[in-house]
Symmetry: C2
Subunit: 349 residues, 2 copies
């Protein structure tokens, strides 16, 4: 199949640092190539891929100090995509709604994976206007604000099978990995660790916008002797960090549309204790890969019960449900549906 | 003529506070209606106009605390515009390049006035890609970074003839009006006032992004007894503020694409002492409506020479060159060209 993958230009594919969308686009692209498809990746010029790369700008925009108008680069990229549309059987967009005006008019076979939260009031009129656009969700929960959109499927994210190493022995600390921001609730993780009396390691970046929150709310809590703040970490350190933990604490307070770190943890065999919200009930299997909790007391109890879970079972669930191979198969199935449907429409016309 | 005016949604038309683009769109729209055209204004719902208003969102986005995704509203508005495209003889856009992908494909008669600075490196590839789009500049200087664009004309901004009152008597203070930001160089205005020994009144807003600059660089300079900081002012106060001044000081340090305040000053009869840059040489007529200077010494000398200028002549130049009536005539002429050309193309096809 001739597939175009169209990534955002904010980060390279894969990203040098943080960047969930571009990371997933990379996993998917590489796996599609491995499965024998002819893949073209539209992305920033500092991306690395075994697909054919069409560089829409030299450098990823978030790291480019000279970039003042990110939208302009996306508009240029979309023109390139549509100029070559007849070379692809399917175009798979990861740039939210930016291409909708073009896709509506050009009648190509296309689909969009929506990677972000959709509960922002501004978005409803937009997706209503473009309600015929085929879209794929990354969790069922993500769809709640826009149930009437033209949903094709939910395709859960997947990771390369060997990216994270299975570790059969449980570690002795709790792990928190993510951004420090109010909705990620690292303060809850600290409170849980204190109540359980287990060390907590926090690997997290602090965005400029969250600096005030970090300084005033979180920094004082880090003084506890049980808490260790290790800062932002890369892919290799992440494998160690998650794999050597007793459990991942995922104490979110917002409708997280996916939450990659949960499947990264179970890929290592590390169970997850997560607060209910967003995709959590779809990713965590209580009693198998972790527990879903409703409050602090519940969370403390769950952490204690993690000792009874099988790390091997966590890894098994990962291999069944959350590999890049499974993700790519799911997408190819959706691509096939869309191509077949468009051919029917063309023949009828 | 059936004309659509498509405004940005950041401010209402006219804006409640600051907002050059939306202000000019308002002047133009009202004048086109007055001249007997059938005008439809696409703008935020809190706009006020004698044209037919199509509200693309309830409130202007910059004042809407709940707005998190401004682009989504613009995308919805553009779909509305194109759904009704056959009801207009011409569509006049003021939203930069946002409609280019649509205009390219829909073959309507349209033109865009570019209101912003064009010397941002990100913009060149974009305007290159869309180099067939007809565009209008607001000064010749604005075109410099993109000389190969499909420029139709320069149309200078204009003001309603009676918005500012002519005052024959020269005042006794220098006036600075605008934002406090590094490129506006209010520090130069203060230095000029001190050297000349004349009071300076500063009417200016301080954006959040410029707060640090204001506190550290400008605030200490305001302690001089010659300097009075009056803060942000509205339209009515502006008439008094500019009209009662001896001269407007416009000491910019960037390629300002127009500079409305210069024509507002001469509408009152108040001459302008401006640093060379951007549109200044096109708007200020040395020895008539003010002086163009290259440095501090030059500026001080020019301020002294303002006493020899005729305030009546300033007003005359305003009435000849910078009324909304003249602006609307210029635009209608461009609209007629574009409509005629599109009819030729249609007939040839």
């Amino acid at each position: 199949m001739r597939i175009a993958q169209v990534a955002p230009l904010y980060e390279s594919v894969p990203p040098k640092y943080y960047g969930g969308t571009e990371r997933v686009v990379s996993y998917l692209t590489e796996e599609l190539v491995r499965q024998g498809h002819e893949v073209t990746l539209f992305a920033s010029g500092d991306s690395e891929t075994s697909a054919r790369l069409v560089a829409a700008c030299q450098r990823s925009l978030r790291l480019d100090k000279h970039c003042q108008n990110q939208m302009a680069h996306h508009f240029v990229m979309l023109e390139r995509v549509f100029q070559h549309a007849d070379k692809f059987d399917i175009i798979h967009f990861h740039v939210d709604y930016l291409h909708f005006p073009l896709s509506r008019r050009d009648g190509i076979t296309q689909v969009t994976t929506l990677h972000g939260r959709l509960d922002i009031p501004d978005l409803a009129p937009l997706y209503q206007e473009f309600c015929e656009m085929p879209v794929i969700s990354i969790s069922n929960g993500q769809r709640d604000p826009l149930p009437w959109a033209n949903w094709q499927a939910t395709v859960y994210h997947g990771l390369p099978r060997n990216l994270y190493r299975f570790r059969p022995e449980a570690g002795r600390y709790l792990a928190f990995l993510g951004r420090i921001s109010p909705e990620k609730r690292v303060d809850r993780a600290i409170e849980i660790a204190k109540q359980v009396g287990m060390p907590l390691k926090i690997a997290a970046k602090v965005d400029r916008v969250d600096k005030g929150y970090f300084d005033s709310v979180i920094a004082p809590l880090l003084r506890d002797s049980l808490v260790e703040f290790v800062g932002e970490i890369g892919d290799i350190e992440k494998d160690e960090f998650l794999g050597n933990a007793y459990a991942l604490i995922f104490p979110i307070d917002w409708p997280e549309p996916f939450g990659l770190v949960m499947i990264e943890a179970i890929a290592c065999g590390t169970p997850v204790v997560a607060y209910r919200g967003g995709a959590v009930p779809e990713l965590v299997e209580p009693g198998h890969t972790g527990f879903i909790v409703e409050g602090l007391e519940d969370a403390v109890e769950a952490v204690r019960r993690v000792a009874g879970l099988s790390r091997k079972r966590c890894r098994e669930v990962f291999e069944q449900r959350f590999t890049a191979t499974r993700m790519a198969h799911d997408y190819v199935q959706q691509f096939e549906h869309l191509i077949a449907r468009n051919e029917e429409v063309s023949e009828a016309a």
